[in-house]
Symmetry: C2
Subunit: 344 residues, 2 copies
Amino acid sequence: MDDTKIRNMEEFSSVSGISRPTVSKYFNDPASVRPSTRLRIEDALRRYDFRPNIFAVNQNRKLTKTIGILVPYLADPFFAEIVRMIERLCIAAGYWPIVFSAHGEVELENNALSTLESLRPAGALIAPLGRTSDVDAVRRFTEAVPTVVFDSHVPVGRAFVGSNNFQSIPLMVEYLCRSGEPPCFFEMPPVNPNANKRREAYRQAMERQGFDPMVFKVEARGWDFERTGFEEGGRLIAERAFPTNTILCSNDRLAIGLLSAAYQKGFRVGRGEGCALRIAGHDDHPWSRFSCPPLTTVAQDYRSIAETSVQTLFRVIDGAEAAAEGPDRPEVLFDGKLIMRASA
Amino acid sequence: MDDTKIRNMEEFSSVSGISRPTVSKYFNDPASVRPSTRLRIEDALRRYDFRPNIFAVNQNRKLTKTIGILVPYLADPFFAEIVRMIERLCIAAGYWPIVFSAHGEVELENNALSTLESLRPAGALIAPLGRTSDVDAVRRFTEAVPTVVFDSHVPVGRAFVGSNNFQSIPLMVEYLCRSGEPPCFFEMPPVNPNANKRREAYRQAMERQGFDPMVFKVEARGWDFERTGFEEGGRLIAERAFPTNTILCSNDRLAIGLLSAAYQKGFRVGRGEGCALRIAGHDDHPWSRFSCPPLTTVAQDYRSIAETSVQTLFRVIDGAEAAAEGPDRPEVLFDGKLIMRASA
DNA sequence: ACGATAAATTTACGCGCGCAAAGTTACATG
DNA sequence: CATGTAACTTTGCGCGCGTAAATTTATCGT
């Protein structure tokens, strides 16, 4: 490894013995040059380790190799996990994923979109805040950047990939009804469209089963779901406000908070003898299997959502996807899977 | 809002009536131009919404406004939370944070460092993998980019900010010793330097108290700590392998897994009558207060670590920090705070 | 109203690379 | 060995902006 610094492609081309345009061609696609010259370039690369200046590259290329990823709250285990998968898939496909989090705030979401757009990415995978999003800003972004929307159902972009709340919630409702008292529904703060969809799915499922829906909505507390489940849910438990012994929470984090409250108040949770409550969740967060008792929930298909989102985006980028954009774009919904554990 | 697209600063300067160099000056520092011309520019900005091309800007500026953040595993709640804070502090200071995760793998860490370096960031905040890092690669990076290392104690960069394991662990050990049986130590897979430091801190603390250290090390399982705590810890509990009823886990995630195993095996955890085990953790993860029972732990000072890291980096960037680099760089360690909850 | 000074303008160059056109060389085929 | 084509080289322009030098204009105090 020679330690003379290579300042630019000009210098590198001279030490490698290959002309600059050919070197440029190599960096855009190593397979596009003759094997013998490829060897000479890669030999020089080993001796001098040079990388083209990203800024100069991206300034001149029409299409960058960047892929933007935007999530509403990266500290949420669901998004942390899905981002992890998406990033790996992008890297494997030769793209540069770059992650932004809105941290639950519209201004930060708009900032991120704006920054992202100015990076001129080849495409973007976004899960908007949803209800609190500046929808016009999001739409403007999706009109400038090929975008796949995931998880948060907002009618923009070139495709939507998410989970089928109208299958997964009824699946759980039916299970709970046939195995005990019908569930009431403990709703998460409506930070995104899933909150409303799940409540509606619950309503419909209950009516189909011939029961009256019982929905409990509490003060919004942003993304601090465990706390909401613990404090508000705990209060409802203590007040005996829930009309049945079975509580379906609109997501696992809420359920984990509620589970904690039940534990501390001495209510035994589970489906066996001597249990005062059944508590179920939704999503199968990475830590749900370690709650006490382990949480019965509906698993979202993380892997499929990540893979389909990424593959769909690649097809859009390659122009292989139909042109429909906005409300009529294609949607892919994955079914949830009942995960039977001890809590319900 | 006029919808004629502005293609570059040239066009924008003509519609705003201000010359391009002055416009350029404005974008580098809005306060550097006369108030009257600033008004004219911002008026045009409202009518045309133009943003300088990032790539062109960064290609020419010696110093970009980018700040790189690298963590070993973004799906870990500790890093998710600390990144959230760091990002906000960077944005507030007018920088562009950009987050990378090594996802627990050296190759991805090296990739991230390489990508990051080619972005020519103003500075970087990194928590290397540590034990498994390619230390030479990390060092090369820190020699090219002003870097503050946090959490993961690796002797490179311009400063280290972390928590003082040799204060926090003894704090917990002393509490456990004076309130019951002396603790054994359940060690996390050695994914980073904290693992070893905490074990050593435990050893020293126990000896100072006049007890024999009892360390339990299990098969490494990467970053899936809850699972390790649940499976391996559960096995140790079932085999009655722990010589005392008190177990100090080297982090909260491990403790949460162990708590879950104890629950399922019917061992009551806590410090009251009828409890078979005491379990304590370290870090005070966001979800530790919602475990069953709530976890007694040592809180890392998230806020101070984030703020000090960022502020130190800014001082290094501004050249206000001493030049020491590598092993002799300054270190700031924050004390942990005992968080008494019900598990120990 | 005047000069002093600050700020804006004009002009020009450079950053590092993508890309196109024209000419040259390498390589496979018969 | 002639031939065709694929790959390479040379040359040169352009991307959008930072920045410097020289010049002109605006602003302020007296």
